[in-house]
Symmetry: none
Subunit: 199 residues, 4 copies
DNA sequence: TATGAATGAGCATTCATTCAT
DNA sequence: AATGAATGAATGCTCATTCAT
């Protein structure tokens, strides 16, 4: 009698089993052979659950993204002002060693997107964009509602995300100090968007 | 006596001769054999003038960067207001087919920086950063001097560059409409930094 | 279930299939492409069974060494006196065309050991040394037991091997006549070590 | 008015100027460019004085050989008995750091001889052989004359040289302890060839 | 006599993916 | 459902030597 396996469940199990490997070795140095071994299955079996290597990496990165979103929402709640929330959100990837490894993986993923960019990857990136836009939107709306920042701030969602993307890239490419850049930007920005002053 | 060649000159000549190749094929698909052929020299000769393939790509990208800087300064002069200048500067890479190919190369270069990032590459990126910071600084200072924008705008240089980087990346990664994003950001931003209104 | 292959067996089969190639072309001129072709497999498959090219050469040389040892023991048995045995053993590599090709390969291997000498190669050479020391030891012991040679001869094992190595090298380097040198040495030596005379 | 240069003199000057380089880098890693630079001349000029790279290496090795011979003779004189002289002669290459570097070079040279062996190299090796045979011959003759060793020892010249060659090779190939091997061999040998005992 | 610019052949190795069993 | 054996494309780099000046 064959064991009935929930495909979706096994997918995640395989992905989980080698997520550490991915963080350690990076995408390029992760081989299908390693994946199969760490999951305790044959190489061919991997392809029963995933289309290709990219598919596996996707699964893992998606898991990380969900976790990241969860942490982001959690952290943001603990902050009082809109500025603090933004600071936390934009800076979340640069916190500690744990994040540094995830950041590295994310940068590697971005690099692949930059040169190979399959429709699937674009779709995934757009999905992330939406989620984060939503989070940023909530932060700003709340800030406006609480009278912390002006109505015009509403138009900054996309810019804040693009700024964030720039920080992620440049923290590697030019070695800028991410958290300092974020702080400085928010200081300047809040000088402009906070309520109650005349320029 | 032997023939004396101006090494620096020939370097540039070789780089020039295969820059088209680089734009067409991308970095990864550019082979030393192609470079040598397009320059009409032997493969070994290439290595008389360049350390390695990376070195060649660098030379070409540097040439493009210089050209880009020149065009940026030229375009900016033709604009009247600070907002227009910023729009031109940030949008310069997304103008037409000509730029699209250069943009692609730049994105590929960024991708490499994101995963391999040699000290030399970081140094180059920092150099670019400085140059562009200078240009942005001039634009903002002039805008402040002319009373177009508030003093606080001065603190936006780094943020504008990171935003620009984000647009370069996301125009590929998520397929956002670069020029529209830039326009929208500047509209919102100028709503905040222009002089003469109460929030 | 997938096909299970006896790895060790296939290793030897691949090695065997290109040993002729190795004898003909030498180590440096043996390419992986040739190996794959002669074994009727793909280049990649070669690497399923061998770490690298060196590993393949090792396998083949080891096979030759085993065969050499077998022949040596066989030949020695057919000889009556210790002197004859030594002569056969030391001269075995210089017999005929068959041996000349193997000798050439061995010399090439020695050359590599002399400049690159990986631990693995040293280990292999020590293994050979042990085996041959054992054979020489047996010959001498029997000679002593039979009263052909004096007790002190026992101390000559290592020297005989080093002499043999010297002959292998010099037969190529200075073109000395190997068999004549061996004969002359043994004549002199036996003059000294044979029993029953006063110097 | 052209400067008259003694070709032979300049040859030696060039060779001398890069002999240190040769000891440090080995034959394979010594480039013509380095040679030219260290001699303060152009690459092309090197070929005015030498046929090819091999020719240069030859010149240097010849210089070393002459020096080695000088040292050998000097050392030997300081020894009293034939056994001591042989020990000094055979062990001379394994004395100290100075010798270790020369030994390495010599081994590399042997390796080349083993696979490429040009007539010129064979000739050189034969020349060395003759010289050293002469030295060994003198040692043995003197020993015989002084009644230290028996007449038959005269036949050991070639064997001693081949043994020596074997030690040079195996000190690298199998990592044997050269000086110990030499001592052990000579102990055993002198047990056999010394005068005044009955086996 | 001196130079130095130009040359170009040659090859190991990796690993995602397939598919016969 | 699971497997794992087989595959093969694709490329940077070195350096001794030559010969035009």
């Amino acid at each position: 009698m064959a064991i009935i396996v929930n495909k979706e469940e096994k997918r995640r199990a395989i992905a989980q089993s080698c997520s550490e490997l991915l963080l350690e070795n990076g995408i390029d140095n992760l081989t299908i052979a390693q994946i199969a071994q760490s999951a305790g299955i044959g190489k061919g079996t991997v392809y029963e659950y995933f289309e290709n290597k990219e598919d596996i990496v996707f699964e893992i990165i998606t898991l990380f993204m969900i976790e990241f979103e969860r942490r982001a929402l959690e952290q943001i709640q603990s902050a009082a002002s809109a500025k603090e929330k933004l600071q936390l959100f934009l800076g979340l990837m640069f916190e500690d060693e744990f994040d540094r490894r995830h950041l590295g993986l994310y940068q590697e993923y971005l690099a692949i997107s930059l040169v190979q960019g399959t429709p699937q990857m674009v779709e995934f990136s757009l999905l992330c964009r939406e989620k984060f836009a939503h989070i940023l939107g909530d932060i700003l709306e709340l800030g406006i509602a609480k009278g912390e920042i002006c109505e015009a701030s509403r138009g900054l969602i996309s810019a804040l995300m693009l700024f964030g993307r720039g920080v992620v890239v440049d923290s590697k490419v030019t070695g800028i100090e991410a958290k300092a850049e974020i702080a400085q930007f928010l200081d300047t920005l809040f000088e402009l968007i906070k309520i109650g002053e005349v320029k």
